[in-house]
Structures are given as C-alpha cells and as structure tokens.
C-alpha cells in the first residue's frame, strides 16, 4: 500500500513540477486572497492582526479546493483515470498517494502564506511549535477529506461547483480548530491552543481511515 502511495505521490508531484499549475496559479491566488482581506478589513484598525489566524486558514481552505480540483483534473486528461483503475495499484495506496501529494503542496502553500501574514498583517509567530503541529495535522485532514470528495466529483460535469459545496461543510471543524489553535499561537499563549489539536487529530485519523476503506468503491463504481 505504501509503495503504491509513493508511486502515485511521486507521479503527481512530478506532474506538478513540470506543469507548475499549483506554484504558478494556486499560490498567487492564495496570496491575492490575503491581500484582498486587507482591502476588506481596514489594515489601520488592528483588525487584521487580530483576525490573521482566521484569514490565513480561510485562504488555505480556498486554495486547498483548487489544489484538489487540480489533483483530479490531471486524471481527467488522456483517460488517466481508466489507466489508474487498470494499473493494479492498491486503491488505498492511490488514495494515500494523491492525498500525500495534495498535502505536500498545501504545506508549501502554508509556508508561503505564513510569511505572507507575517509581512503583510504584521503577525508575530510566537508559538512556532504549536503553529507547525496544527498546520501539519490540519493539512493531513484537509488533504484526506478533499481527496475523498475530489474523486467523487471528478468525473462529473458540475465538478467545479459541486466540490466546494461538498467539501466546505465537511472541513468546517478543521477551520474552527486550526484557527483557534493559531490564534493562541500567534498571540503567544500556546497553552490554550494545544487542546484543539485533539480535534484535528481525530479529524485526520477519521478521514484517512474512511479514504483507505472507501476509495476503491469510489474509483470503481462512482
């Protein structure tokens, strides 16, 4: 399973390295979102600094949707999806591989966005350990849940509009928990933040397990 996962993750990341869709389109989009938040909330009133954690995670969430769309758009060209079905790779491995590739891209995105809020919103990264642990768990959860719904919507004509409707209510707990944890981290009271990691952990474990169990059915029948 893990070997198959590495094969798929390697392939997805290689496609990304050659096509640079996430780096050249999704990443600038994410930065654009945090700039636009500054237009929406007047930067001079200190609102931005207080809301930084929430805005950061909203930007991550929106970008994650695009990354997931992209992850399955590459399966749509040249009948790649059928190739995947016929490849004999373990469906659980395919799931883990695709989720891993999405997660890797999200991590890069989060690093850049963190620099973005540090520079643009003046946020101080006071609890780096908490921030990193939160980001890691949240990313696993987002990538796993996103990949499950991504494959479900992949073959459909309405996928672009359907995916956000399916994914956003599902990942609402991630937004809530990671924002609270980051607020604590950014404000330098990491003690309050650690308890939120439990929810992120439960979420990540649940969706990774669901994905491993259900991905075969989704890839074959749906």
């Amino acid at each position: 399973m893990w070997r198959d996962a590495m094969v798929i993750a390697g392939r997805d990341l290689r496609i990304e390295r050659r096509s640079r869709v996430v780096t050249n389109q999704v990443l600038p989009f994410a930065l654009l979102v945090i700039v636009l938040f500054a237009f929406a909330l007047d930067p001079d009133r200190g609102v931005l600094d207080r809301a930084a954690a929430g805005l950061f995670w909203l930007a991550v969430l929106f970008s994650a949707l695009l990354a997931i769309q992209r992850s399955f758009a590459i399966e749509a060209t040249d009948e790649a999806r059928d190739g995947l079905r016929l490849s004999g790779l373990d469906p659980a491995g395919i799931f883990l591989g695709k989720a891993l590739a999405v997660a890797a891209q999200l991590v890069v995105l989060e690093v850049v966005l963190t620099a973005g809020i540090a520079v643009l919103y003046g946020s101080e990264l006071r609890g780096p350990l908490l921030l990193a642990a939160t980001a890691l768990l949240a990313t696993i959860g987002l990538a796993a849940a996103g990949t499950i719904y991504g494959v479900l919507a992949a073959g459909l004509r309405v996928r672009e509009t359907l995916l956000p409707l399916l994914v956003l209510p599902v990942v609402a707990p991630v937004l809530l928990a990671s924002t609270r944890a980051w607020e604590a981290g950014l404000q330098g009271v990491p003690g309050e933040g650690w308890s939120w990691l439990r929810i992120l952990g439960v979420f990540a474990v649940t969706y990774v397990a669901v994905g491993i169990a259900a991905f075969g059915t989704l890839l074959e029948d749906a």
């Binding site: 209510p169 609402a172 707990p173 929810i199 259900a214 029948d221």
Partner: protein, 237 residues
C-alpha cells in the same frame, strides 16, 4: 398507477393530519409563561421538527449503508435514502426557521453562534450537497453508489461537526424533558407534536420513495422507447 397513495399511506396521512391539528390547537391554547409569554408555545412544534430532521438523516445513513453493503444492495435502499434526505432537509430548514423565530424574542437576536444552531446549519448545507450529488445525471446504480457514500459519510461528519462546535461554545438550553422543569400541559403538547411530526415524516417519506421509483421507471422506459423508435426509423425506408 396514477397515484402514490395506498391504503397504508392514507391511514398514516389521516393520523398525521389529525395529530397536527391537535398539536396546533394544544399549542395555541397553552398558558402564557412568565419569561417567554406567547413564544413558549413554540415548544409544541420546534423540538418535534428538529427530532424529525435527525430521524430523517439517520434513516438516510441507514439506507445508504444497506445499499453499499453488497448482500443487501437493492434500489429500494437508495430510494429510502434519497427520499429521507429530501424530507430531512425540509425539516432542517423548518427547524432553523422556527428556532430563529423563537430566538429573536428570547435571546434578542435571530441567530446566535451556539453549538446546536451551528451544527444544524452545517447539517443543512451538508445534505444540500448530498441532494446535489444525487441530482447529477448518471446511470441509476452509479448515481446510487455515489450518493450512498456521501450519505454514509455525512453520518460521520455530523457528529464531528457537533463535537467541534460544542467545544467552541454552548448556550442553547439543555434537555427540556429534564424532570421538574416543564409544566405537564407543555409536556403533553410537546409529545403530541413529536408523534404528529413523526407521522407526517413517515407519510412524506413513503410518498417520496414512490415518486422516486416512478421517476426511475420513467427514465429506463423512456430510454427503451427511444431505442425502439430509432430502430423503427432505421428499418423504415
């Protein structure tokens, strides 16, 4: 078949109707309470509607699970799941509306970010997503499998959402049926409401399932008919 009614549904429907009338009459004649005046009468319908929403989504999860389970797979379970989800969404919307109407005079606002309200709103959107998936055209079995996975997943999502939001905040009043908190008449009106709403749910569910079955028949027979027509065209000079 010209109607989706049968003797069974007529009986359920009649009972539901009588129950709802009794609920309304009882609800409107409840005494005024000191803190909430007229608004406490909403207790006759609001908890019952919310209960039906949860019941409906439970049935959707059950139908989805039975459809996905290979040895019990049958179109019936898909019909149960989709019919129940659709009725459930209506009841969830009504829960939110009646709750808002109640919240405005008691809390002073239409909406508060309390755990139960937030979970219910998320649940509403979640099942709108389910219905959207179900409505994407596809072969009946593909569509059913796809919907069943979403329907079953939703049963995982709702508790996680609830647990998270619960952590976040709690303001909603606790169990209304805790002993000694509620006057007898209110309790009776509430229980009659539960019964009537559950019957109404069952009635809607059965009718919606039958409509779903008819729609599927229309689809497949329409296709057969079209194929036969094309074949006839090909034969004709």
């Amino acid at each position: 078949m010209t109607s989706t009614a049968s003797r069974g549904t007529r009986v359920i429907g009649a009972l539901a109707l009588v129950g709802l009338v009794v609920t309304v009459v009882m609800g409107l004649t409840l005494p005024l309470t000191e803190e909430q005046l007229e608004y406490s009468r909403l207790i006759a319908i609001h908890p019952a509607i919310a209960w039906c929403a949860y019941l409906a989504f439970f049935v959707t999860a059950l139908g989805s699970a039975l459809y996905l389970w290979k040895s019990t797979r049958a179109p019936l379970w898909d019909h149960v799941a989709v019919a129940s989800a659709e009725v459930g969404v209506v009841f969830t919307a009504l829960t939110l509306v009646t709750g808002s109407i109640w919240g405005r005079p008691t809390w002073g606002v239409w909406w508060v970010w309390d755990a139960r309200l937030t979970t219910t709103a998320l649940m509403f959107v979640l099942y709108l997503g389910y219905l959207a998936v179900r409505r994407v055209p596809a072969a009946p079995d593909v569509r059913a499998t796809r919907a069943a996975v979403v329907g079953l997943l939703a049963a995982v999502v709702v508790p996680i959402n609830h647990y998270t939001v619960e952590w976040w905040r709690t303001l909603h009043q606790g169990e209304s049926l805790a002993p000694g908190t509620l006057d007898g008449r209110f309790k009776v009106a509430m229980l009659v409401g539960f019964l009537a709403m559950t019957l109404a749910y069952a009635w809607l569910l059965v009718h919606r399932m039958r409509v779903e079955r008819l729609e599927e028949r229309l689809e497949s027979e329409g296709l057969d008919l079209a194929i036969a027509e094309r074949q006839a065209e090909a034969v004709a000079p």
